[in-house]
Amino acid sequence: MSNAPATPSRKLTDAETRLAEIFATQQSAGAPQLATLRTAAFDAFSKTGLPNRHDEAWKYTDLRALLRDVKPLAAPPEESAAQSMRDAAVLTGVAARRIVFVGGYFVPTLSDLGDLEKGLSVMSLSEALAKGDAATTALLGKVGKVDDPAFALNTAFMGEGVVIRIGAGRCVERPIQLVFVAGEQPATYFLRSLIVVEKGARATLIESFEGATTQEYHVNAATEVVLEEGATLERLKISREGGAAMHVSTFVASLAANARLSDFGLNLGGALLRNQSFVSLNGQGAHAGVRGANILKNKEHADATLFLDHAAERSESKALFKSVLEDSSQAVFQGKILVRPGAQKTDARMMARALLLSEGAQANCKPELEIFADDVQCAHGSTVGALDENLVFYLMARGIGRIEAEALLTEAFIGEAIDAVENRSVREALAALVAERLRARK
């Protein structure tokens, strides 16, 4: 295996050097195609190295400067340590089928894989890779054309996650929740999942990430989703990472004709959170709702970078991002809408709104439209503002304390993004999670 960096002109950072060392010693289990895939991915990564602020897509999140060192790849947790995480998961109020990962490893004893609904198949990524599952290796890294160093790193190092397939025409009512709980020790987790929703099938997927530790740990997660013709997926991602955690996640989705994706991401904690989404509307009449909300404090930094690629007629996308920022936290929203030639009657709307609860907080917003078709509707907008003190006064004049008054108004602000969540029990659980978080302010 040759991992020589392709750009020797630049001195590698310590983190980049360390990544190359780890990659060189990594045992690649599984099929030969997999080793090829990993090597190609690491080579692609080495060409650019860690992204920095000169990369347009990473303008506000300079990973090269931020990633000082690389934490060791996680070792399997002791069974007792894994069991102690039993109650850790967010959204426990939702009767989801839970698949639990602690410290980057699948924990069968905490997971519910019994009585799978007809047409639902679930396999851990490690199992699929070890078996050399052809359907998996054929798709991994190929759901979209994503040229991104963080995603390439994920492909090079992907360790654990799930491969889920919903058979054609099947409707899996019960939400499937992937619970990723960080371990106690500093570590790097490379998590990867692949979801295929076949023709006309439906499912709800929750991915929750949490960590109770104040130690610094690094998560690099990626989820690839294939929605075949007429398939529907509602996906929720919740990040409540530890206060020193860095979390970089890539979401890649490909939508065939009349497929529907409803995606909502909620960021409640983590020193650095980068969520990048690459959504391709490849079939006529495909629809993607991509929404997110940040509630940040201290020096937390959350970056949502979105690429909506309209490649077919009558495709629709609705993007809505809301940020509530306290202290000196920062939210970044970068959204790009591309309408390819021939994608007539595209309807694409994008909105980012930020609510600053303190003077030191900051919101950056960079929308971008690239339109190569003439009969389309595209709109984008953004707002940044503070709470309306007149409304705070009105609520307080009824006896409501300041924290509660601000929480009510902030919930109302975030509510618009949460209201779009279609699964009722998930929506209510998310609202409760937000309500709890907003009342935990000092």
Binding site: L391, Y394, L395, M396, A397, R398, I400, L408, L409
Partner: protein, 252 residues
Amino acid sequence: MTALLEIRNLKAEIAGKQILNGYDLTVKAGEVHAIMGPNGSGKSTLSYVLSGRPGYTITEGQALLAGADLSQMSVDERAAAGLFLAFQYPLEVPGVATMTFLRAAVNAQRKKRGEEEMSSPDLIKSVKEIAKILDMDMEMLRRPVNVGFSGGEKKRAETLQMMLLQPKLCILDETDSGLDIDALKVVSNGVNQLRSKDRGIVVITHYQRLLDYITPDVVHVQSAGRIVRTGGKELALELEETGYASYQSEAA
């Protein structure tokens, strides 16, 4: 006995501009006072100073609620202590459901007073009863607070909040404006139900009309930031005849 509201030589300003110029007013429990006066004489300013709206500064004098200095209390503490202001222009609060808001208000006040919270079924029952008195459609209360309400509906909603919260001192700032005669009767009926020996009511109005339905014990004329004349309910009728012109010139 301590007065419910005792205002002594109160001077207050907004944006560096003095609006209240030595205000004196005493309201005892069981009394209904009317404050009448021309536009711009500082009637709303008085209500905001008492409720603690940011931006209004007391520069001299005192306002005591049941003996407690209001200036030492936060806005929500004043409310929990029993002060209620029915706003001249009630605000719309998008995204906050009316019931959520009412529950938050009732229970925040109860909590501050060390009382038990009101259960949801009890709250809904109370709200339904009050809505019936005020001839309000429960459908309206499923909307966010005041959002899309007409002027008159907002005034009814303010009255509903007041009847639910059972304050010690009610200040109604031009509750009659924007109400047609039928609505005026309904709202006045609601206010009259709050009349009690333990409660004080201050009705701020520009017109005498409201006082046909809510009969005051005392009528004050306010001009240029202070009370310039006090009398019985016949004073309101006299004002109806003569208008405020003489008071405005007196103030100038």
